[in-house]
């Protein structure tokens, strides 16, 4: 009994500490060894820990692009009943929001949550969900315009959509894309890619057509297969515009979209506020303040495109 005493004494505060620990769960669309996932989760951790008082346990879950696996992880995550759940991108938000109406969810990257029926309005979400959007649906036209400006001779452009961006029987970005294509007299094509095989087929088609371009809409699939798309575009000399900015650095011709790290950092602030007692229903959903045009001149050169100065003037960052 005397021998057990120190254990009891030592055990008590430890238990108390465990009780007091705040648990935040984060669901990411990356593999657990993905550099982007690591960078974003680190940004999240840093931002949250910088503000939060006390020790915070952050449980990062790596769902990858596999929908089934991701949903299983989401269910597991909701069962653990953390105090706040953070989700990155649309599919992850949907997976978690379908499972709980009680645990506050802070998202990053869900486009048009009002249209998707997840929240009541941007200014007052009204439920357990709030967060930061990344992409506007109108960007579908903007991407096309940028591609056309970079490659004026382009005749056909394929918009590669993710299954997760499907909404109300259509797809995000599709309408804006089609409108812009009509205005610019470009033949539009829309492909919803869900597998690597889909990519290969689309890229092969585009490479064959010659004056065709590619727009990679954002989404879990794009995050997972972006590198493959970049590689195929390079090999097929296909001018490609990505919504996700990091692929411009990885060899895509251009990217136009917000900085996700910024959104993640601000989402961490929301998580902290909810931990401090703010109601997610009253925290407005915020849109990014800025979209960056990143132009990869190296790719342009290697693919033989001459980027006009007007476009370069618009570029926020140029990769040389």
């Amino acid at each position: 009994m005397i021998a057990g005493l120190p254990w009891m004494l030592a055990g008590l505060p430890a238990a108390a500490r465990a009780q007091a620990r705040t648990v935040v769960a984060a669901l990411w669309p990356f593999q657990d060894d993905d550099a982007e996932g690591r960078a974003l989760s680190a940004a999240f951790d840093t931002a949250l820990r910088a503000r939060a008082q006390g020790e915070i346990a952050i449980d990062h879950r790596w769902g990858g692009a596999d929908g089934e696996r991701m949903r299983a992880i989401a269910a597991d995550l909701v069962r653990a009943a953390p105090q706040v759940i953070f989700t990155y991108l649309n599919a992850q938000l949907r997976a978690v929001s379908a499972l709980t109406r009680g645990i506050p969810i802070v998202f990053v990257g869900a486009s048009d949550p009002v249209g998707a029926g997840l929240v009541a309005s941007l200014k007052r979400p009204g439920g357990n969900i709030t967060g930061f959007t990344l992409y506007e649906t109108s960007l579908g036209g903007k991407w096309l315009a940028a591609l056309r400006e970079a490659v004026p001779t382009i005749g056909r452009v394929t918009l590669l959509l993710n299954p997760s961006t499907e909404i109300r029987g259509g797809h995000l970005y599709a309408n804006a894309f089609k409108t812009a294509a009509a205005a610019l007299a470009i033949e539009p094509a829309i492909v919803v890619a869900g597998t690597a095989a889909d990519i290969d087929r689309v890229m092969a088609d585009l490479a064959r057509q010659g004056n065709a371009g590619l727009i990679v809409a954002p989404g879990t699939f794009s995050e997972a297969y972006g590198d493959r798309l970049v590689a195929l575009a390079a090999s097929g000399r296909i001018p490609a515009v990505f919504a996700i900015r990091r692929f411009a650095y990885r060899g895509a011709l251009m990217s136009y979209g917000p900085d996700p790290a910024e959104a993640v950092r601000r989402a961490a602030v929301y998580v902290d506020r909810i931990l401090r007692g703010d109601d997610p229903a009253a925290l407005p959903i915020q849109a990014p303040k800025k979209f960056d045009l990143v132009v990869n001149l190296r790719t342009a050169r290697s693919q033989g495109f001459d980027i006009p100065s007007a476009l370069l003037a618009q570029a926020d960052e140029v990769v040389e």
Partner: protein, 676 residues
Amino acid sequence: MTSPVTATRPPKPGRKPFHLPLSGKFAVAFVGLVTLVLLINGAVDLTLNYQEAKQNAITVQREKAQGAAERVEAFVSEIENQIGWTTRAEWRRVSPEQQRYDFIRLMRQAPAITEVAYLDPSGREQLRVSRLEPDAIASGKDFSTSPRFTQALQDKTWFGPVYFRRGSEPYMTVAVAHAGRDPGVTVAEVNLKLIWDVVSAIRNGVSGYAFVTTATGRLIAHPDLSLVLRDTDLASLPEVAGALPGTAGARDYGIARGLDGGYVLAAHATVPRVGWIVFVQLPLWEAMEPLIESIIQTVALMGLGVLLAAVAGTFLARRMVVPIRQLQDGAERFGAGDFSERIVINTGDEIETLAHRFNLMAGRIQESYETLEAKVEERTHDLNKSLDDLQKTQSQLVQSEKLASLGQLTAGIAHEIKNPLNFVNNFASLSKELVDELAEMLRPASLDPDTRAEVDETAQLLKSNLDKVVQHGKRADSIVKNMLLHSRTGSGEHRPVDVNALVEESLNLAYHGARASKPRFNVTLVRDFDPAAGVADIYPQEITRVLLNLMSNAFYATEKKSDGAEAGYAPTLAVSTRDRGDRVEILLRDNGTGIPDSVKAKMFDPFYTTKPAGEGTGLGLSLSHDILVKQHGGAVDVATEPGQFTEFTITLPRGGVATAGPAPAGAAMDEPRSQP
């Protein structure tokens, strides 16, 4: 002087009033005074500090509000300026590519602008560049009646109302007319979220901040962006309500409940170009922090002051009271009559002086005590003496009065007795003669011899009886005469007389008188006359009588002693006079039988005599006493030792007799009436 009546009234018994010791009073007074001063000081300090702090805080807040308004205005102006370089006169003539390029550059320069459009002079949209949408070239949209066109042409620059894109994000349209004739308009959509950078950069204390509302109270910018995006209307918030145009609030500052419910010190300033109101607010507690610090400081100082005052007061009171206690103890000792110790206080102040005075007083009292005892002794002695004198005088007085009344009595009696006595004497003498005549007459008569013998014998018996009557009648007469003499003192004249001569004369008279009546009488006379005895104003006859009386007494005493005494006894009478200044003394000392004490007490009483019946009347000394004391105002004293000596001391004043000699009606009675 009525106040001492109340002051000296003894305290009511039963209810013991509460006595605060001196030290307590002093300490209370000291601490109370210091506390009062500190309190007043603190109150004044706090009042001033409060006013100052409030004024300072208000001033600072107003300045902050002005500063914040300027920065918000600068934000707006900067956008206007940036737009400005697309509005030069020849701009509409540059190529559309260049125009687009300019717009792209504008949007790069001004991140808040999310969309910029060019309206040609007819109000149609010729170019639109957006961050979110593809560029629109020559869309031809007609804005010619829109305020963004008309107002911009009119006022050069038009700031549109704040609108909220998708109900959440605040935007504002800014339209700037181009320069030159027939100008176009550049229209920019400005994302006001970016004022956040401005507003959140405004630092106001630790927890104060700035925020911006439209003229209707809609929140445009706030450090907490979510409030802005939530489309917050602050028109009902008191601090905002008071600042909105059209309200009566004239002040540009106020204390009100802030957004989070706490009291804040808020100031505001307007941005006139856009009609916005910039608020700067600071939690009241923070604004008043200097005051609170000052209060804490003041209270702490006050507490410290009171504490120090209490310590100092107690210390001083104790120090002050110690010598007073010593003084008190000393005074108590003195009061109890113990002068063995003196009060020792060396405080060098008034108390030391007081102690010194106490000591002086004690010394005096001690001195007084000592002399007083001696004086009391002396006085007691004097008093005793006075009492003795008084008693003596009283007894003398009593004696005198007794003698006087007796004299009067005797005079009366003598007078009444003398007449019948004259009759007795005269008729006894007459009867004797008549007996002789009867015998003569009977001689011729023939009588038998027996009868004759019997008649003769009877006649003889009668004669001898009558002789005895005459003899005793004469004696009674003598007594009566003496008695009358007694009551008739002061006879004759008083005149200055040479005392020595008078005494010498009296002595000779007495001696020869005595020798005449008793031839065997012998006495040694010793004279010791003081030549300075001089003259005294006296009644010489009376004094002579006294001296004769005393001398005959002395002779009697010596004779009586020598009768029954051993051989070798030499009867002596020493007579001396002494000059005593204004008095003269005559001393008569014999070495006769002396006077026993029992006799001495009564010897001046009338009719008291130790001589055998017939030898003295008992009036001699009584008479002498009257003459000396009452007539001359002198004195007679006797000193005696039975069987040894008797000494009479006569003291006579030189300066005249005391009284005019109350002469009782004696002259008329000098001679007894011989006629019946």
